[in-house]
């Protein structure tokens, strides 16, 4: 029995066009509803264009990426072009039952297309090996930080010696924000050690084009120098549980003077004796709030306006630091409670607030939020 | 132009073919199965060696590489008949028993190849008895070790020891089941010099189990 008759392809391209248009229309509608602009969509498609990576060694990584990219694009156009060409050029004409030349192979051609790809990958390998030596190089460093990864927050310990608890000068408990995160001096080499307390995590800063796993029982360490002052967002990049997506942190690269001032203040604060907790009757009405599994027990609180009140805060997350901070509608912080590590309780004395809607948030876990209606 | 249907070389409902390679399908199948089991043990051995290479104890405040852990070293000398606390240490006799069972197995195989059905059944029965004895001695050994504090959770040494020897024991048990079937079918007269594929296959398996034990014994006790 012979081949089935060729189906009518006349309507094929039209149908393809229709489907593409339909799907594109849905996409445009949903994007618009979500607040996307043509500019934001366009920018999304070129995430590395015009973005300079932030550390000295990341430039080597970017160069390597660019070379691989151009070779990949060239190969893509060549091979894809051959496929598309063949698909159009060698269609069987209707009614043509004659066999084409039955070619089984061609040794010359086969050797060529084995040797050339081998040469290309050998080149890429050597290039990437060389780049690796740059990226992984160990240098003398001025600042030594231990990034501690734990479900589900990062903290940063500044060391004055090899990585051990005895050498910790102070701990930066809050991982994000202007008064949290890892402060380092811009333009100076920094050594980061990774300590994982429970499961495997990974330290990843996209703008550094770099990540390294934090493995329990293993000390991973790496050096880098940030080129340009700024704040760089980082995130855990190894699945560590339900809170994996919430484990964000900031790296603040500041000038040497700012860093020194900050550093000295932190050392002093850590060495100072903690002020005794204010005791006495709770002031004003009491609001209850608890924290467990990296979320608050309620997302909606009520509080009276124009009078101080107390938040009885219970941290039920064993081993995890939490607090309650309150921000007004413009994002200014109007209250920040002490951070306590669970299981623990603390009463926060919140000053009087004007009527309005405020956000309460955990300084350590910015994904833990809720709303306080003050009236 | 079309080939004759009788050129298809099949005979018998079991689709047993003896191709030009000579080896029967069940034997080839068993060798391939043994290959997969070798890879299974390879994974366990790789874990053992990796853990062993990295195992350290703090001795005099210094982290030192040591293996086995100091508290268990006295349990791993196969050449003493009793442990320090007076319990019987039968691992060496057990090993010798398993080794002899391979010899009897091979003797049985050679017997059926020359159509000596009685000799074959006897030899395989003896093999089975020796195999079961090995299992009993191993079980006894386990109880001694656990009494002395070596358990699955007692450091990674305990974990790897019991996992490796335990899975070996499970394979011996499976082999014993196969040997029983061979002995039963042998007694029912189902094997002959011409048709004894299963006997060949099971013999291969039994030797494999023995070789794994030799490796285990050397690695756990001697090295």
């Amino acid at each position: 029995m012979s081949m089935p008759p060729r189906s009518r392809t006349g309507s094929g391209p039209l149908l393809a066009g229709l489907i593409i248009v339909m799907v594109a229309a849905v996409a445009v509608i949903v994007l618009a509803a979500a607040g996307a602009t043509p500019q934001s969509v366009w920018d999304s498609f070129f995430p590395v264009q015009g973005v300079t990576p932030a550390t000295d060694r990341s430039h080597s990584t970017k160069s390597l990426y660019d070379i691989v990219f151009y070779i990949a694009v060239a190969v893509f156009f060549l091979v894809e072009g051959l496929i598309v060409f063949s698909v159009f050029r060698y269609r069987r004409k209707p009614g043509d039952d004659e066999l084409p030349p039955q070619i089984h192979g061609n040794n010359v051609v086969e050797v060529i297309w084995t040797v050339i790809p081998t040469a290309i990958v050998a080149f890429l390998f050597l290039l990437s090996w060389q780049t690796l030596n740059t990226v992984d190089a160990k240098v003398p460093t001025d600042v030594h930080v231990r990034a501690v990864a734990q479900r589900f927050q990062w903290s940063f310990q500044y060391l004055d010696g090899p990585s051990s608890d005895a050498n910790v000068l102070f701990t930066q408990v809050i991982p994000v924000g202007n008064d949290g995160g890892m402060f380092i001096p811009v333009g100076k080499p920094v050594q980061v050690d990774l300590l994982a307390k429970d499961v495997i995590h990974a330290f990843y800063v996209p703008k550094f084009l770099f990540k390294r796993d934090a493995v329990p029982g293993k000390l991973n360490t790496f050096d880098f120098t940030v080129d340009e002052a700024g704040t760089y967002r980082g995130q855990c990049a190894e699945l560590c549980g339900p809170g994996h997506g919430a484990m964000v942190f900031d790296v603040h690269a500041v000038d040497q003077a700012t860093f020194d001032t900050w550093f000295k203040a932190q050392v002093a604060q850590a060495a100072a004796t903690p002020t005794p907790a204010a005791s006495g009757a709770a002031q004003g009405p009491v609001v209850d709030l608890a924290a467990q599994n990296i979320s608050y027990s309620t997302k909606a609180l009520q509080a009276p306006a124009d009078t101080p009140f107390t938040i009885d805060f219970k941290n039920d997350d064993t081993g995890v630091p939490h607090n309650v901070a309150i921000k007004d509608a413009s994002g200014n912080e109007v209250f920040k409670g002490d951070i306590i590590t669970g299981p623990a309780e603390k009463s926060y004395d919140v000053p009087a607030l004007k009527p309005g809607t405020y956000t309460f948030v955990c300084s350590v876990h910015p994904t833990m939020t809720g709303t306080i209606t003050v009236q | 132009m079309t080939a004759d249907a009788t050129a298809l070389t099949t005979h018998g409902p079991a689709l047993e073919t003896h191709g030009s390679g000579g080896m029967g399908n069940p034997v080839l199948g068993m060798l391939l199965f043994i290959t997969s089991e070798v890879m299974f043990f390879a994974g366990l051995f790789a874990a053992y060696f990796s853990i062993r290479a990295g195992y350290t104890e703090v001795i005099n405040s210094v982290s030192t590489h040591v293996w086995p852990p100091t508290q268990f070293q006295h349990l791993l000398n196969p050449f003493t008949l009793t442990t320090e606390s007076g319990a019987l240490n039968l691992i060496l006799p057990a090993t010798l028993i398993l080794l002899s069972s391979s010899v009897t197995c091979q003797l049985g195989l050679m017997a059926i190849r020359r159509n000596d059905r009685r000799g074959f059944v006897r030899a395989f029965a003896v093999t089975l008895v020796l195999g079961v004895s090995f299992l009993l001695l191993q079980a006894f050994d386990y109880s001694v070790l656990m009494h002395e504090g070596l358990t699955m959770g007692a450091t990674t040494f305990g974990t790897t020891y019991f996992t490796l020897t335990g899975f070996h024991g499970a394979h011996v048990f499976g082999g014993a089941l196969m040997l029983s079937v061979v002995v039963y079918r042998g007694m029912a007269g189902q094997f002959s010099a011409k048709h004894h594929d299963m006997v060949e296959a099971v013999s291969w398996y039994w030797h494999f189990v023995d070789v794994v034990w030799l490796l285990l014994f050397s690695i756990l006790y001697l090295l």
Binding site: M3, R6, S7, L15, A16, V23, L31, A36, D43, S44, T61, I83, V84, S86, Y90, L99, P100, I103, N106, E110, T118, V121, A122, L124, F125, T131, L132, V135, I200, K207, K211, D213, V215, G217, N220, Q235, A237, L239, P242, G243, H244, G245, A246, S295 | T2, A3, A5, A7, G21, T35, A42, G43, I51, G54, T151, M152, T156, T159, T163, F167
Partner: protein, 545 residues
């Protein structure tokens, strides 16, 4: 060419259901593999839609949560991958092997038919065990399909993980038994005249795949058992506090799981290598080179496992980088061989060729974006980001799944005696192709922009929202494409055009018998003088060599 005069639909004296439940016929078993696999494909697809709905927009800038809880989300992507890899892709390719290999080598069945049946039935059983995790306390396995300890340990995850381990052990056993069956069948039961180098490429790919299954899957079993012992019997294999090593699991796991990806692609390449010559009316270009390339990929596949672990700080990086780059060479050779098969051919774009072409164009992209990960410093940037999600889906979906659909449209007539509808088939391809690229191409950008994998939510200020919207719409487009496919199958089973023995003018022996074939496969076999015995019989020796 040979046709059979027997009516394959012999009157049954037992019910059809009983016959299917107790069959040891490789053709029926192969079809059951296909059906079971497609069921898990649909289940895995629904889980993927849940993932895409969760990620379409950030719930709000600062709150995790939304469609499903983060706990359930982790189960969703874990089981999505587990279903797709272990219960869809690997078994469906084994199912094609089961159906096609005995026919293509001129054998009446597989070497061990009863073990063949056991291999199949272990699959729904293992799959049910794995899936039952959703009903367990704490839900299904939720540490990614890779299940790295310590996260997958008893301290952080409940019995769903144990059910996953047990189910996977059964599935692995099914694979290994199948591999033994294939190897004995291929080595011992070829028809006279069919030397190894006259076997169809499909049979070669199943051969090499079976070697990989035989050697690699038991290593996975050992990793699973060690994890099970750590979880349930106080073991310390992966517990650094007691002499164990968390990275050890990754090494043992990936020693299997890298060859596993070749298990997932080689038979699909085999299918493409069957379809291209038939629909170009030319032989496969460079048959021998193709065989050597397949063997090379299989062998090299065992030497690259640690490229999944470049960021652990525990790997000898240059070696694994080199081997990973090298494996691109035999893969490239195959690509060029396929294009050369099309070159100067006379192409008929029936649905099998349409999907095979889709395979070529999409697998190319998957291979190219993989090269970035082989360059270690670049991997430091893109590992565990959506770039990898893009890569794996371009090779597994753009590659294997398109290959699978090519096989379905190619062999459905042989299996059922009826043709699938061409228009619906091409419609499926069109919608699927558009949806697939829309879903996964933007993930390259998302990875470069820094979006990590396996996160249940993200910040609105990250700039990832737009592409996630596009990807979600793409995902639902893929789902839409399944509808014409299912409709096609159901309608064609009842009223598709009668296929006859050889509707495609095929090359290989399965087209020398009826559709569907009789239980013992062949009445007569044509003479076997090349890898295209049916082509030779049709065109006589003059047109062939």
């Amino acid at each position: 060419m040979a046709t059979t005069t027997l009516n394959p639909a012999a009157p049954a004296y037992r019910s059809a259901l009983y016959e299917w439940l107790t069959t040891t016929d490789h053709k029926k078993i192969g079809i059951m593999y296909l059906i079971n696999s497609i069921i898990f494909f649909l289940a895995g697809g629904i889980l993927a839609l849940i993932v895409r709905l969760q990620l379409v927009i950030p719930k709000d800038a600062t709150t995790i949560g939304g469609l499903v809880s983060p706990e359930f989300y982790n189960q969703a992507f874990t089981m999505h991958a587990s279903f797709m890899l272990f219960l869809f892709i690997i078994p469906i390719l084994a199912g094609f092997g089961n159906y096609a290999v005995p026919l293509q080598i001129g054998a009446p069945d597989m070497a061990f038919p009863r073990i063949n049946a056991l291999s199949f039935w272990l699959l729904p059983l293992g799959g049910a065990l794995m899936a039952s995790g959703f009903l367990a306390t704490g839900g299904a396995a939720a540490s990614g399909w890779t299940e790295y300890p310590p996260l997958s340990g008893a301290k952080f995850n409940g019995p769903g993980t144990d059910l996953w381990i047990m189910g996977l052990t059964l599935i692995g056993t099914s694979s290994i038994l199948g591999a033994i069956n294939f190897l004995v069948t291929i080595f011992k039961m070829r028809a006279p005249g069919m030397t190894l180098f006259r076997m169809p490429i499909m049979v070669w790919t199943i051969l090499v795949t079976s070697v990989l299954v035989l050697m690699a899957t038991p290593v996975l079993t050992s990793a699973l058992i060690m994890l099970f012992i750590d979880r349930n019997y106080g073991g310390h294999f992966f517990d650094p506090a007691n002499g164990g090593n968390a990275i050890l699991y990754q090494n043992v796991f990936w020693f299997y799981s890298h060859p596993a990806v070749y298990i997932m692609i080689l038979p699909a390449m085999g299918i493409v290598s069957e379809v291209l010559p038939v629909f170009s009316r030319k032989p496969l270009f460079g048959y021998k080179a193709f065989v050597f390339a397949t063997v090379a990929i299989g062998a090299l596949g065992f030497s690259v496992w640690a490229h999944h672990m470049f960021t652990t700080g525990a790997v000898f990086l240059p070696f694994f980088s080199l081997m990973t780059f090298l494996i691109a060479v035999p893969t490239g050779v195959k690509m060029f061989n396929w294009i050369a098969t099309l070159w100067r051919g006379k192409l008929t774009f029936s649905t099998p060729l349409v999907f095979a072409t889709g395979f070529l164009t999409m697998f190319l992209i998957g291979g190219l974006n993989g090269a970035f990960s082989a360059a270690v410093p670049v991997d430091f940037a893109i590992h565990d980001t959506y770039w990898v999600v893009a890569h794996l889906h371009y090779v597994l979906f753009g590659g294997s799944v398109f290959g699978v659909f090519a096989g379905i449209y190619y062999w459905f007539p042989k299996m059922t005696g009826r043709m699938l509808n061409e228009t619906l088939g091409k419609l499926q391809f069109l919608i699927m192709f558009i949806g697939f690229n829309m879903t996964f191409f933007p993930m390259h950008q998302l990875g470069l922009a820094g979006m990590p994998r396996r996160i249940a939510d993200y910040s609105a200020s990250a700039g990832w929202t737009d592409l996630n919207i596009v990807a979600t719409i793409g995902g639902f487009t893929i789902a839409a494409s399944i509808l014409p496919f299912l409709w096609n199958v159901l309608v064609s089973l009842r009223s598709g055009r009668i296929a006859g023995d050889d509707p495609w003018e095929g090359n290989t022996l399965e087209w020398a018998t009826s559709s569907p074939p009789p239980p013992y496969n062949f009445d007569h076999l044509p003479e076997i003088r090349s890898e295209r015995p049916v082509f030779d019989a049709r065109h006589g020796q003059a047109a062939a060599h």
